[in-house]
Symmetry: C2
Subunit: 228 residues, 2 copies
Amino acid sequence: MDKLKHFYNSHPRFHVAIDCIVFGFRNGELKLLIQQRNFEPFQGVWSLMGGFVREDEDLDDAARRVCNELTGLKDVYVRQVGAYGKVDRDPGARVVSVAYCVLIDIDRYNEQLNMINSSYWENINTLPEMFFDHKDMIADALKLLQRKISREPVGFNLLPPLFTLTQLQTLHEAILGERIDKRNFRKRVGEMAFIEKTDQIDKTGSRKGAYLYRFNNKEYRRNPDFKL
Amino acid sequence: MDKLKHFYNSHPRFHVAIDCIVFGFRNGELKLLIQQRNFEPFQGVWSLMGGFVREDEDLDDAARRVCNELTGLKDVYVRQVGAYGKVDRDPGARVVSVAYCVLIDIDRYNEQLNMINSSYWENINTLPEMFFDHKDMIADALKLLQRKISREPVGFNLLPPLFTLTQLQTLHEAILGERIDKRNFRKRVGEMAFIEKTDQIDKTGSRKGAYLYRFNNKEYRRNPDFKL
DNA sequence: TCAAAAGTGTTAAGTTTACACCCATGA
DNA sequence: TCATGGGTGTAAACTTAACACTTTTGA
């Protein structure tokens, strides 16, 4: 067994960090929660929300914890994007970061956290310069999201429990970066029984008002045919 | 600066390993290169080909090095699958593994390495029980490969420089796990100028002989429309 | 009364699938 | 001469894309 210990000890050890690409959707815009570093070096530089993995924590659990610490939210959609391990990607020490794509309903986010964390929501198309490889992580997370949004019901994690079809369509447009035909989009939504029309109407978006819809996950699991 | 050091030191450090899912293709079968552990604990258990990341090495470079050590090959297709970080996934120490999907032309592999590494090529459908989460890594690597094979010219990395259309089709079938219509497949190949017919004929696969084709990467970059 | 967003079907174009026979060769 | 894999085209089914007007209501 000592031989075993020696075997492991002969190899280096690195810090392992989590970086969260936290997506939100508001006013037809896809936004990211980013943070200003409040310590040297690179104080003031914008970066993703992150934290270190603990000794007794699975990677995925660490991602959920870090995400919870930064947003105050639990039961949030969290998926791994990948590992980033350039030698000098962190100025202070060798750090391997595992990036996670996080989708939240921005209405549930407590804006006061922005004071505490020196963070804010920035439109994904107008991000400032960012720390080392964080732009790469964001690009990869966005690609992941673009790939998933049309094949799995992940978009609903970015919307409130009740949403209009215009909101849903605008969300898809913001993620895919292209316009979608309204009638074709609604035709496809209509074919999916798990996107349920309620009898409630949202009047904030127009004078006429629009029906509110709901994602029914039980119904989705019964018949998971998703294509948008 | 000391404050900075202290900041990093207050967080734990882990071993970071590379695990290679090495794919090969021979006799119409998709195969994986797997290895029998030659040290305790779990001596004799089958595992992926792996190694530890060094202090002065990017993750991707480590993957290429490990892959080179195990196959003797350079300039090989290597793509990250993801990071695997369950607390107890390695019995000896906390190890975070980054899995890499590796595609090689099995003809270039020196079979004598199998003696040295206690490794062998096993059909992907008849793998033995494997070390901890290695089956998960394999499943994820295969999904990645399935996703890519129809949209990018990655399959050619698994074939010799000259190949018949039947070989190419059988490769796709093995990766996707389903039969493909011969005429439809060849129609699509015919539309892609970068899959070039040579005037050479392979007689090993049939009495009649089949034309050999070649992937032209320059031509592909000129007009990268891939859809198989 | 008018501006602004909601809602609603049809047709053409393009893509995908299904399908069967002849050919060339070596044994 | 025959068994084996190589090579070839067409038509139907399905999917996707393009397109414009009416409705409701608050200001």
